[in-house]
């Protein structure tokens, strides 16, 4: 029986920031959460960013996979994030099979991102992959689809202008700061938290002329490390109220579960600042800055949802490139599915080749036994001749097998014709394709990649599964 790929989650498309921040996993929770899920699925991977929480599962039985996957995820969110299914349920989406593959490819390629083309998401998917690998919950099937997702993302990045023409969350932050201050030269930037997003956003601001940079973090060593990387100065966490009196732009990206910047703190800072404008870019989920801070006069607060609405405005400019990228994703998904189908016929191909080779070897041995005066050279020539005949004879049938994938008719006919008795390895064969003209699998197919390992399962069972919500 083939495994089925299921993805269940919520994202900026379906859930407001307050739900996303409650559902988001802390980095330290990921491995344990993956292990908890392992009891419900063959493989698991949790992708948790500020804009999405998605859980990828491979389930051993396609029947009811969407519902089982969704229940497992709801249970996990209830246990680990204390998020009731009633709250999270309306925001969850589920994709299975080919839809799940396409979804993962689009996510990794940043086509599903809040800011289409933003570069961070690929690294975040790779991080999720590593967490799952360390937890031991990822093996061949999910590993293969992820590797192809990374390759697809690379193609999108190199063959389209999506990444270059789009703005990231970080560049959106720069644009907002420019609407308040105009020229950013000399504007002091305070980075709260030492995460990657804060690092990136700070670099964008520096490249736009802002600076000097101040960095603070609960762990002073991490603040020092980030300050060293971006050319800033680290300050102890306790000096945060004083830092707010001098900074013009504040970037927040801590992993704190509660807001670290409160309204009263900002009001005190604004008195000391004599009303000078203060811009908060809060890219943390959960948010680092109390929402009421935005009500303080001359203070401007933007969280990830606000950035989203701003960058939505840029979508039209990027639509053309995104359409090209979508075509690449469609090609890559098709190529992946073809490769998966090819995996299903590998045992038959191996058995067929082995059978022909063993017959040839036996006949060569018998012939050579009758040729008493044959030299070593003659023997090698005869062995090569036999091997060449086998290859020539098998070329057409093997090509046809690879092309037809796991079309049951051809595979079983081959097994019957050549008396290949052992059944295909469990989980390696795709389910039957629909008859010609009714379904997929009839396009141009790969013929040269069928030599992969026959071990592990394919995602074939997923191919007929639909999308469930």
């Amino acid at each position: 029986m083939s495994d089925v790929l299921v993805v269940t989650g919520l994202s900026h498309h379906t859930a407001p920031v307050d739900v996303r921040e409650r559902a988001a996993f802390q980095e330290g929770e990921l491995e344990e959460a993956n292990r908890r899920l392992a009891g419900h699925a063959s493989e698991t991977m949790i992708l948790s960013t500020c804009n999405r929480v998605e859980i990828y599962l491979t389930l051993p039985d396609p029947a009811g996979a969407a519902e089982r996957g969704r229940r497992a995820v709801e249970k996990l969110l209830a246990e680990v994030r204390l998020l009731d299914a009633v709250v999270v349920g309306p925001h969850l989406y589920t994709h299975t099979g080919e839809d799940a593959v396409r979804h993962l490819f689009r996510v990794a390629s940043s086509l599903d991102s809040m800011v289409v083309g933003e570069p961070q998401i690929l690294g975040q998917v790779k991080d999720a992959f590593q967490h799952a690998t360390r937890a031991g919950t990822i093996r061949n099937t999910l590993g293969r689809v992820l590797q192809r997702a990374f390759a697809a993302a690379k193609r999108v990045r190199t063959e389209t202008e999506v990444a270059r023409s789009s703005s990231s969350v970080a560049s959106a932050a720069v644009e907002l700061a420019r609407h308040i201050f105009g020229d950013l030269t000399g504007k002091e930037v305070l980075v709260i938290g030492a995460g990657k997003m804060g690092d990136l956003a700070a670099r964008h601001l520096v490249s736009a002329g802002a600076g000097p940079l101040l960095v603070t973090n609960r762990t002073f060593e991490r603040a020092q490390s980030l300050a060293g990387r971006i050319g800033g100065k680290a300050h102890p966490w306790e000096s945060l109220p004083q830092l707010l009196t001098v900074a013009d732009i504040v970037l927040c990206s801590t992993g704190a579960p509660e807001p670290v910047v409160k309204r009263e703190m900002v009001q005190r800072a604004m008195k000391a600042r004599r009303g000078r404008w203060l811009c908060f870019i809060d890219i943390a989920v959960p948010r680092d800055v109390e929402a009421q801070v935005g009500d303080v006069e001359n203070v401007y607060l933007y969280d990830v949802d606000a950035l989203s609405s701003m960058v939505d405005d840029h979508l039209a400019e990027r639509r053309r490139e995104a359409e090209i990228a979508e075509r690449i994703i469609a090609e890559e998904v098709q190529r992946f599915l073809v490769a998966e189908r090819s995996l299903g016929v590998v045992p038959t191909i191996r058995a067929l080749r082995e059978q022909f080779s063993s017959v040839a070897r036996a006949e060569v041995a018998r012939t050579l036994g009758k040729l008493e005066g044959a030299s070593q050279h003659d023997r090698r020539v005869i062995e090569a001749l036999a091997e060449a005949i086998v290859n020539k004879l098998l070329h057409a049938p093997l090509t046809a097998l690879k092309r037809e994938g796991e079309s049951d008719g051809l595979v079983s006919a081959t097994r019957t014709l050549f008396a290949i008795e052992e059944p295909p390895a469990s989980g390696t064969i795709l389910p039957p394709l629909p008859p010609p003209g009714e379904g997929r699998g009839e396009g141009p197919l790969e013929t040269g990649s069928g030599s992969g390992s026959g071990s592990g399962s394919s995602l074939g069972g997923t191919l007929e599964a639909g999308r469930a919500k």
């Binding site: 600042r273 404008w277 001359n298």
Partner: protein, 269 residues
Amino acid sequence: MPPAFPLTLALYAVSCTLYLAHSSTGERATQRLADVARIALAAAFVSHAVDIGYLCVQGTHPFVDVREVLSFLAWLTIGAYLATTFRYPLPLVGALLVPVTIVLDVAARLGPARGGPAHASTLLGTMHIGLATAGVAIFAVAAVDAAVYLVAEGQLKRRRFGPLFKKGPPLEKLDQLNRRCILLGFPLFTVAMITGTIWVMRLQGGGAHRLLTPQYAMSTLAWVLFAGLLVARVAVGLRGRRAALVTLAGFGAALGVVAIYYLRGPAGV
């Protein structure tokens, strides 16, 4: 009607249309629209100056009639705006300011003659009217700038990032322009208040009772508001939204004085 008025009006209209087109489109290429709008506005300013000069030669001094004061106010306002564009190229301010000056100029040219205040041609009268008009013209730029600030600030606060947001100038720049306009306009307005007070008290035997008029009360209110704004800016660092609101209130009071003169004539001087 002065000979260049149709041309002046046409150039103002062209400039206004281009500024509005620039402000309502999101393309980067529209920077050229703003540049052409500025050139058209400069041409209108020159054409308007020709009109004022022509009327002077004809014996119609800018201060001898309220409607001429209106036209002069429109001309000075455009002059003040054009001067700011060298340091603060803010087309959105132009897009709002030029229609206002068109209304003022049309009202001046098509409105009925109101006559001028007695002794307007005296040194005190000329100083008072000239400085007051210059002060109000600069306050007009500050007020439009303040209105743009409030719109831009509201969009930034409410996180609405539409086409107007893209064209919206940076808040800090708008506030800087406002501060400089008040710093320049307030001394002119203050001297105008002083000369006006002396002038009015000397008129026809004078007396403090002559100051008990709505226009004097409005002028005083405008002066107090701008004085308070200036002090608050320097002393406690008032800026941003509150500064914009006080500017609008102050300009409203100053405009009220002009409106009273326009509607009632100079009898109340």
